[in-house]
Amino acid sequence: MNFTFIFFIVAGTLAIASGIVTIRSKHPVLSAVSLVFHFFMLAALYLTLNAQFVAVMQVLVYAGAIMVLVVFVIMLLNLGDEHSLKERFSVQKIIAASLGIVFLLQILAIYFSFSSGKYEISEKSIQIGTAQGIGKELYSNYLIPFEAVGLLLLAAIIGAVILAKKKID
């Protein structure tokens, strides 16, 4: 057993566990905290794939920016525990769980029927994953999508401000 494999197993298990805590916990703050933990575990998995830049962006953008926004909204709304409506929602839970299991089985069936034969990470991935590699690609081959994303973020800022502002009348 080499170190990378043990690291993969531990990070993967913790990612699944924190994902389950995220969707199962009654209180939204606990969900948010375990989702932050989940994002850190995903960043660790990206490091095992030689994707350093994506790992750093994962921590900065997801665990930093997006989850701070989510926690801020949870605090602003001051929600308590989710009051359960057992009799109405047991049917929905059963349907959702069975749909989820069918969905998972479908994906797993596809993955097990197809074998990529890829046992090793490509040698080139060390150059690809650095900030230099990503930056070169982003500013040469993907320049127009990059600019379009800038426009998208501007539209999102304006949209968020217009949606969240109080009506003055």
Binding site: L49, L77, L104, K118, L138
Partner: protein, 103 residues
């Protein structure tokens, strides 16, 4: 052959995480937790994209992940603003209590 990490391991992990996100979206009533489950699904797809990128030695997957992250940031801003204005209007974030469109 158990010691080396095959690409399928990452894909299976990604599928499991995506399913957890799906079940979260389908079962929960709190709009914020539904939103967080959506983030979980986006991240599961990101993981499989990075795995493809690393194993095939192609940078396109990681560029896609970069764009998905920017998209998720935009989605977070707009989605949380919608939840906020919904709470102001209906005093609730539980999606089954919001039935404005119900006739």
């Amino acid at each position: 052959m158990l010691e080396t990490i095959q690409m399928e391991y990452y894909l299976i992990l990604s599928a499991v995480l995506f399913t957890i996100g799906t079940i979260g979206v389908l079962t929960r009533r709190n709009a914020i937790i539904i939103f967080m489950s959506l983030e979980l699904m986006l991240n599961a797809v990101n993981l499989s994209l990075v795995a493809f990128s690393s194993y095939y030695g192609d940078s396109a997957g990681q560029i896609f992940v970069f764009f998905i992250m920017a998209l998720a940031a935009a989605e977070a801003a707009v989605g949380l603003a919608i939840i906020l204005s919904l709470f102001r209007l209906k005093k609730t974030v539980y999606v089954d209590e919001v039935n404005i469109f119900k006739w």
